[in-house]
Every structure is written in C-alpha cells, then in structure tokens.
C-alpha cells in the first residue's frame, strides 16, 4: 500500500515537473513565434513643409507611404491603437486619400480620413492587410 503511494507520488512529481517545463517552454516559444508572425512597420507623422519650392503644405508624407488600390484610388495605412484582450495593441486601417501635390520624394495628402496626428506606415509591405495587428519599429 505504502509502495503504491510512493509510486503514485513519484508519478505526480514527474507529471508536475513536466507540466511546468512544458508551460515555460511554450511561453518562450510562443513569444518567439508571435514576434516572427507580427509584421513590423515604420511610421511617420504627416509634416508641414515646402513642396516644389512653391508653398508650405500641411499633411506632407513620404511618397512611399501611398499605394494605389482598386479603381486607381490612393490609400495609406494608418496605425491605430485599441484596447485589445491583452492590453493596448496597434492595428492597421486603410484610409483613402487624395494627392493634392507631389514631388519625387513627398506627397501632400488631401481628404478627411487622415489627421495630422496619425501614424502613417511608410513603405507598406504588399502582404499587409487592414486590421492586421502590427508592431511599430523603433526609430
């Protein structure tokens, strides 16, 4: 009877240690997998600057941030913050814009979908999609 108890206790100890090791390993692995799977984006805020030596414009962004969608409409990805299940998280929203003026490097955004304080994704990856959760690259 006592031997049986000892064996049961030993099995329980081994099981507990295995569970703890498995959970710890899963925590580290999932952190690594999550970092690998979450796209990293570089962002910029719209600025005020002179374009083509003519005049100062508000809402000037790098041209690389603008991409053309269906029916030749122009879009940018805006990074928004929301209160997710596990705290604040960043996600992407597609915003349609008009380009009022441009030069080789910069474009002037028009339209009301993007404000001057929004974070705009520069050089968006074609694999990105609206509502994707993203990480913002360190400057």
């Amino acid at each position: 009877m006592r031997d049986k108890m000892t064996v049961a206790k030993r099995i329980l100890n081994i099981f507990t240690v295995a569970v703890v090791i498995a959970l710890l390993s899963c925590t580290f692995i999932s952190k690594y997998v999550f970092d690998m799977r979450t796209p990293v984006v570089s962002v910029v805020k719209p600025a005020s600057m002179e374009i083509n030596g003519e005049m100062y414009y508000n809402k000037v962004i790098p041209k690389s941030a603008v991409f053309v969608g269906s029916e030749s409409k122009k879009y940018v990805y805006v990074v928004r913050e929301r209160n997710g299940l596990f705290g604040n998280e960043f996600y992407l929203v597609t915003a349609e814009i008009t380009v009022n003026a441009e030069n080789e490097e910069y474009a002037v955004m028009g339209g009301r979908n993007v404000s001057g304080n929004d974070n705009i994704v520069i050089q968006p990856d074609s694999a990105l999609e609206s509502t994707d959760v993203v990480r913002i690259a360190a400057e």
């Binding site: 997998v33 999550f34 299940l85």
Partner: protein, 278 residues
C-alpha cells in the same frame, strides 16, 4: 431482506453516479469543446444552428496551438495568475499560522474582542471592503501595482479564523512538553503545531489558492492596466469572438488547482481520519 438491501444499494449508487456525472459534466464539456473547430463552436453555442453535442464532430487543435504557441499573452496571463496566487498563499500561510497560534494558545487582554473583529471582517462581503481598500491604496500610491492585489489577500482574516480552530484542538500538554525540552515559540509553531494541524494548513492552501486563482474584482479595480490582468479576468470577459480560445484557457486554468489538490489530498484525508478517531 438481502434482496431489499441490494436494491437500496443500487439506488444509492445510481444517485451517486448521477451526482458525480453532474459534477464532472462542466469539466468534460470544457475539455471536449476545447477540441472543437472554431466554426463548430460558433455554430453550436453562438449561432445555434447545430444541435447540442459533447463529442466534437470536427477535431481541431487550433485552439491549443493559438494558446500555447502563437499568442504568448495567454501564457503570460497564466504566469501572472500563478505569481499572484503563490505570493498571496505564502503570505497568508505565515500570517494565518502566527495569528492562529496567538489566538489559540495565548491568553491576553481583549483576545475575544479582537477575535470577534476577525470574524466580522471575515464575514464582510468582498465588495464592501473594495472601496476602503481602494482609498487606502490610492493614498499609498499602490494603485496599478500588484501589491494592491497581494496585500488584501495576504492579510485576509479567513486563514486566521480557520487555523485558530485547528490549533485549538491541539492539547496544551504537547506544547508544555516542548517548552520543558527547551523549544522556543517559533520552534513550537513550526515543529509541533503546524505538522499536527497539517490538514488545516492543507485546507487553507487549497481554499486560498482557489480563491485567489479565481479572483476577478480586485485585479479589475486595483490594477487598471489590462496588460497586468491575470487569466481569471480574461476568463470572466469571454465574448463570442474568443469563445473557442476560452475553452482551452479553461483547461489551462484548471491545471494548477487540480495538481495542488492531488498534492494535498493525502493531508486532507488523514486530517479527516484523525478527527474521526478523536
């Protein structure tokens, strides 16, 4: 006569099996649902166009992969729960053993009045103490830190009351004998009182761990930052979107309590046996 008693036995066993099945049903339901495909979960429990069933029609481990491999936040919440529960349990054991020993084996002026307040505090609903605790922690600048959840748990009076009852049943002659052998109060507590009241300490461990493992109100009110919330808060906020994940998290949440019970069940049973023998 023998046939009649056999019939009664069968009825008793049937009723007990029924009660056992009813008690086990939620666990079986969670375990089976955690293996269902997400669409099956939504169709069964949200949309309702599938009839109720326990055995999954389409087995899937996606929920487990999501919780254990793809999203670290679930396991991080698990470890936060574990940290909170373990620290609270350790602190509660120290406070309860010292307090229980004091109330059970020492005579001092106002002992009964203080013990009366301990019982009053124990009987107060948690919701009543939340506001005063919040005001105190805000003044101390502890709102948002884990200390605001840990401190009320550590100084909960339930453990003191429980262990006072267990320690009171220990004969004073044992303590006197230890004193004659030269043992000091801490040695008496650690080497005689606590091992003697093993079943009481085991009961306190299980009850306290379950209580803190399942707490929802305190982290919600005191921690503020949702990144600090433990697993219990996530389980309490299950919505349609994360229903299938919540079943897997349910299994994850059962695991530590189940293991703790397996470890302490012998102490509990031996304590009950000893109580019957007295």
């Amino acid at each position: 006569m023998k046939k009649k008693s056999k019939c009664i036995d069968i009825i008793i066993y049937a009723v007990l099996i029924l009660f056992g099945a009813a008690a086990l049903f939620p666990v079986i339901f969670i375990a089976a649902s955690s293996l269902m495909d997400e669409s099956e979960v939504i169709r069964s429990y949200v949309v309702g166009d599938m009839d109720f069933h326990i055995i999954p029609r389409s087995f899937s481990l996606n929920g487990y992969l999501e919780v254990f491999l793809y999203t670290p936040a679930y396991l991080m919440k698990f470890w936060k729960s574990m940290l909170l529960s373990t620290v609270i349990l350790a602190g509660q054991l120290v406070i309860s053993c010292l307090g229980g020993y004091g109330f059970a084996k020492f005579s001092f002026r106002g002992k009964n009045v203080i013990f009366f307040f301990v019982i009053i505090l124990m009987m107060m609903p948690l919701q009543v103490t939340l506001v005063p605790n919040y005001i105190v922690f805000e003044r101390l600048g502890l709102i948002g830190s884990y200390a605001s959840v840990i401190l009320p748990g550590v100084f909960s009076t339930f453990g003191v009351f429980l262990l006072t009852q267990f320690f009171s049943s220990i004969p004073n002659s044992i303590i006197e004998a230890a004193k004659l052998d030269g043992a000091n109060q801490i040695q008496i507590l650690c080497r005689i009182i606590v091992p003697y009241a093993k079943s009481g300490v085991a009961s306190l461990c299980i009850l306290n761990f379950i209580d803190t493992w399942n707490m929802v109100e305190q982290p919600l009110i005191f921690l503020k930052d949702s990144t600090k919330y433990p697993l219990s808060v996530f389980l309490a906020n299950v919505s349609r979107e994360n229903l299938s994940i919540s079943f897997v998290c349910g299994i994850l949440a059962i695991l530590p309590v189940f293991l703790l019970f397996l470890y302490l069940k012998d102490s509990l049973i031996s304590g009950i046996e000893n109580t019957n023998l007295k």
